[in-house]
């Protein structure tokens, strides 16, 4: 091959090389250029955000519960750190702050190019130490940042909630969140996060070789709004202490029962209570035990502490998310339905005087014999012996199951005329089976069982045999016309069966009965004010609907509820109430779940009875009898509310 040919080959190779770089240049400047230019423009300006101080939280009397204080924090801004300065900086800073260098290194890496991140909040002495050395610590800043302070400790923790960094779901729901700024988790901190949060301040700047060369105008942070609760911190403390004593009382009673050889299944650990104003639906107090101290989240909670709290359900607000059969407390609703709908008495049953609307409360209900001649008897498990013939008033006062069973049976028998869901419809119109709409997240809606619901469940269960069953297998027998029986309606009439409700729902239903039928959404927060105290939003509980309840029924019910505490099932618990016992009322409840669990103790109290301003719902989970355990707790709270000196909590009568 001639030299000239070889030279030509070389020339062609060189032409190719020039073409390749020319094409590549065209690609990144013209084809890809606009996108790169756009990205470059964004990269040129750096932003530094200053978190806004979060708004304060006050109780209804203006007591400061939660605030923010400024504490020194160490920040590292990578913009001002040359790569070769990095190892020394990390080593020195981790020594100064007593941090693991690897952890600091990881945070440094996560911050990304030109990133700025908070290393830690520090004590004043360390802050001074670092400030003195700033000259030799490039990229390090000491800045005051707001830190949350919970002045009341665990008190009201379920109302207030706590703060935490946004997780993936929060960011998905609110894409504008700054992932480095803590947001409210649980409680009003979460529900009112946006007004509390404020707006972070922003400063844009450009840097050349570690020096700021150009600054945009600074936008100062706007402090968050403050909120004023309807909740009263003193009442809240009374409530929480009473619940704690109630739990202790329940365990004492269980100890006695155990020594007598009776069945006791568990230690009592959890309880919940709410106090609402039935006229305004303001939530005056709301407690759930166990609780937690929101302050532990401020410094950053370690995993072990979090897990151990989580295992006790300390983060579950049982008052709005705990579901329990409302049991005999529901008799007040059945009572109202009976009176308002004139529900029929059953026929062909012994011990029924339909003409005078009386039932013989002798401790058991004898149903008609079955086809094979065997007797059907329902014993009333708490019947304190033979109460004789009782009308509806005596039945409520003494919580006579036989009476309400009978009316359930009568309704079942006459279902074609009065409607098979007439009692359930009353329950739903009084708030059961749906969220109350309180200003808290994770509210449970509960279950109001009906024939339709059971049939849906049955179909679902047959189609999805692998999922946990909701109905007993015997109900799925294809020979049955329906998985729903008359007995289910009878159980529903006394608040049992598949029926579940939250303590708040129970309180709301009594509030509606007490105010004559106005349904509103309960509210924990009264108003939102700005940093200067000017009103931003006045929060009035929204009206949902009204329920038609006759004044006669309302008066009778309130009178009968007063009898419960004077002569009925809560008589012993209210013995020490003191002056004004005629002004309080309430209803006991003992919720049964399974044969291997202790009963849930309920009491719902009202005062003043002629025109109630307080509804108190108390639930001691697996606490035992409502009359013995929950009623004394409610009495203690009602004593406080009515201006009496609260007396010690001790066991009342074992009742329904």
């Amino acid at each position: 091959m001639k030299f000239a040919v070889r030279l030509s080959i070389l020339g062609m190779a060189f032409v190719t090389m020039f073409s390749v770089i020319g094409l590549r240049l065209w690609y990144i400047q013209v084809a890809d250029g606009p996108a790169i230019a756009q990205a470059a423009e964004e990269q040129a300006w750096l932003t530094k955000t200053t978190p806004a101080p979060r708004g304060d939280i006050y109780d209804r009397s203006g007591n400061l519960l939660v605030t923010s204080r400024l504490v020194p924090a160490v920040f590292v801004d990578r913009t001002f750190i040359q790569p070769e300065q990095r190892p020394e900086l990390i080593q020195r800073l981790s020594a100064l702050l007593a941090l693991d260098p690897a952890q600091l290194e990881a945070a440094y890496e996560d911050a990304g190019l030109n990133g700025r991140f908070q290393v830690a909040t520090v004590h004043n002495e360390i802050a001074y130490q670092i400030v003195e050395q700033l000259r030799t610590l490039p990229g390090v800043e000491v800045v005051k940042v707001p830190e949350r302070v919970y002045l009341t400790g665990p008190t009201m923790s379920h109302v207030i909630g706590h703060l935490g960094l946004p997780d993936a779901r929060d960011i998905e729901e609110r894409p504008n969140l700054d992932p480095s700024v803590r947001i409210g988790k649980l409680g009003v901190e979460s529900f009112y996060d946006e007004p509390l949060q404020g707006v972070s301040g922003v400063q844009e700047y450009r840097v050349r070789r570690g020096n700021i060369i150009d600054q945009g105008s600074a936008v100062e942070p706007v402090p968050g709004h403050s909120i004023i609760l309807n909740t009263d911190s003193e009442l809240q403390q009374v409530l929480e202490l009473a619940l704690e004593e109630g739990i202790a009382l329940s365990n004492d009673v269980k100890e006695v029962s155990r020594s007598r050889g009776e069945d006791v299944f568990s230690e009592t650990k959890r309880a919940a209570a709410v106090v609402i104003d039935p006229q305004t639906f303001e939530v005056l107090a709301l407690a759930s035990l166990p609780d937690f101290d929101p302050q532990v989240f401020v410094a950053g909670i370690d995993n072990d502490t979090f897990q151990s709290l989580n295992e006790t359900f300390a983060f579950n607000n049982l008052a709005v998310s705990g579901l329990y059969p409302p049991a005999s407390t529901f008799k007040a609703i059945t009572y109202t339905a009976i009176q308002e709908e004139s529900l029929p008495f059953p026929s062909d049953i012994e011990g029924v005087d339909a003409e005078n609307r009386l039932i013989h409360c002798d401790g058991q209900l004898e149903l008609p014999e079955l086809a094979d001649g065997s007797p059907q008897v329902r014993p009333d498990w708490y019947a304190p012996g033979n109460l004789g013939w009782l009308d509806i008033h005596g039945a409520l006062e003494n919580s006579c199951n036989v009476f309400f069973w009978s009316l359930g049976l009568g309704t079942w028998q006459a279902r074609d005329r009065v409607g098979e869901n007439v009692i359930q419809d009353w329950a739903k119109s009084l708030g059961y089976g749906a969220e109350t709409g309180i200003d808290l997240a994770n509210e449970a809606s509960g279950i109001v069982p009906t024939r339709q619901l059971f049939e849906e469940w049955a179909v679902y269960q047959l189609e999805n045999p692998d999922e946990p069953p909701r109905l007993d297998a015997s109900r799925l027998n294809p020979e049955l016309r329906s998985p729903w029986f008359g007995g289910d309606l009878m159980d529903f009439a006394i608040g049992q069966g598949a029926f579940t409700a939250t303590p708040l729902q129970a309180a709301v239903s009594y509030a509606i009965l007490a105010n004559g039928g106005t349904v509103m959404e309960p509210r924990l927060v009264d108003r939102i004010v700005d940093a200067n105290g000017e009103l931003v939003e006045d929060i009035t509980p929204p009206m949902v609907r009204t329920v038609d309840i006759s004044e006669t029924t309302r008066r009778d019910l309130l009178t009968d509820l007063n009898k419960v505490v004077t002569t009925g099932t809560a008589r012993a618990a209210f013995e020490e109430f003191g002056p004004g016992l005629e002004l309080v009322g309430g209803k006991t409840g003992t919720g049964q779940t399974t044969a291997t669990k202790d009963n849930h103790a309920w009491f719902i109290g009202l005062a003043p009875i002629n025109d109630p301003r307080f509804v108190v719902a108390v639930l001691i989970e697996e606490g035992g009898s409502g009359g013995a355990i929950a009623a004394p707790v409610a009495r203690h709270i009602l004593q406080y509310l009515m201006g009496n000196e609260p007396t010690p909590i001790k066991a009342g009568d074992q009742t329904d």
Partner: protein, 388 residues
């Protein structure tokens, strides 16, 4: 005495039409001036007087160019052994000085740092040409020009010794330049396809061995990996440099942001090492694709002229020198611009005539001066020994 004067007159008449390659010289001068402007734009805010320094190097380079243009390139044949010894000593001497930026590449001379590796490129080109195009006897002139295996081995050795020393500095980029020059010159010297295949196989095997036995340092591996993941590998150092470089070039788009545009990466010194290895980003950002392509065209003219000189050389020796210089410049341009656009690893090869740097600039003008000498000497004068 009269004879000498007559002889000179005779030579002058014959070479009357052999003027300096003005296109080559003009393009070189244009690129040098343009380079000063670019260095100024990239460093005006730093107060380092980089452009002023480079002006001194340009002046020195032009003097070197003129001197070497007027020396008969054939004189170097006899000087190769001495030049090789000097350059090898200098390449060893660099290791006795304190490293700058962790590498031993320079000999500090006070007013500037001498980088022997840059001049070694030129010495190696001349040495290879001397080896591959020896003076021939009249009989050999008619026979086919072939490359013997021992000669190929010798050529490899000429490159391997300085190449190894430079690799130890470390300066992988310059070592690669040596490889490219060797490859090109062996091809032009008449290497058979088999010889080229053996050489290629050796190169591929060498690269494979390097990866197989993990001979690259972490630093060198990073520089290859960073091409694919600049935001993850070494994002503070080379990755950052690459991202900034691509951002600067990309944001220049078709016509650029304008010379001395205030809102540019160049003005803000956002591209590390911009006035040296990354000078092309200053061109492409401020003057856009148009400016970038003009620079590429200028280099294409230089390389084209060098190949023309090679084609027209009076002897194979001059042809090989010119082609070797063309290969050197081509490789620098390809790797340097390729690096700034994220296509080639960051190897620290500067861009001829544009990048700030004394040794490199002077080595380049030296090379073009020698090439110009090949051009000036292309026509044989009666009585001259033509058999080279």
């Amino acid at each position: 005495m009269t004879a000498v004067i007559n002889r000179l007159r005779e030579v002058a008449v014959v070479r009357k039409n052999n003027r300096t390659d003005w296109l080559l010289f003009g393009t070189m001068l244009a690129l040098s001036g343009f380079g000063l402007l670019m260095i100024y734009s990239a460093t005006v805010a730093t107060g380092t007087f980089s452009m002023e320094r480079q002006m001194i190097f340009v002046a020195a380079g032009l003097i070197i160019y003129m001197i070497f243009s007027n020396i008969d390139y054939r004189e170097y044949r006899s000087m190769v052994p001495a030049a090789s010894v000097v350059i090898l000593i200098l390449l060893v001497v660099v290791f006795f000085f304190d490293p700058i930026n962790e590498v031993n590449r320079w000999i500090p001379l006070g007013f500037f740092n001498l980088q022997p590796a840059e001049f070694a490129k030129v010495v190696v080109i001349v040495a290879l040409a001397t080896l591959l195009a020896p003076p021939l006897s009249r009989d050999e002139l008619t026979g086919p020009r072939t490359l013997t295996w021992p000669k190929m081995g010798q050529a490899c050795l000429i490159v391997a010794v300085p190449g190894y020393l430079i690799l130890r500095e470390p300066d992988l980029g310059t070592t690669m330049v040596f490889g490219f020059i060797l490859f090109t010159m062996l091809f032009l010297a008449g290497a058979s396809w088999r010889q080229m295949a053996v050489l290629s196989t050796a190169v591929v095997a060498g690269i494979a061995a390097v990866f197989r036995f993990d001979l690259l340092s972490e630093y060198q591996k990073n520089r290859i990996e960073v091409l694919f993941r600049p935001d993850q590998v070494d994002p503070q150092g080379i990755g950052y440099q690459l991202i900034q470089s691509k951002s600067a070039i990309g944001s220049g788009q078709l016509f650029g942001k304008g010379l001395f545009a205030e809102d540019s990466f160049t003005a803000f010194q956002y591209v590390p090492e911009q006035e040296t290895d990354f000078i092309f980003t200053a061109v492409a950002e401020q003057l856009g694709l148009v400016g970038g392509l003009l620079v590429i065209v200028a280099f294409a003219i230089i390389v084209w002229r060098l190949l023309v000189i090679s084609r027209n050389s009076r002897d194979r020796y001059g042809a090989l020198i010119a082609a070797g210089i063309a290969a050197m410049i081509m490789f620098h341009v390809f790797v340097n611009i390729g690096m700034t656009v994220g296509m080639m690893p960051v190897t620290g090869l500067p861009l001829p005539f544009l990048s700030l740097g004394g040794s490199f600039y002077m080595a380049m003008t030296l090379a073009l001066g020698i090439a110009n000498s090949v051009w000036l000497m292309r026509t044989p004068v009666p009585g001259e020994n033509q058999l080279t």
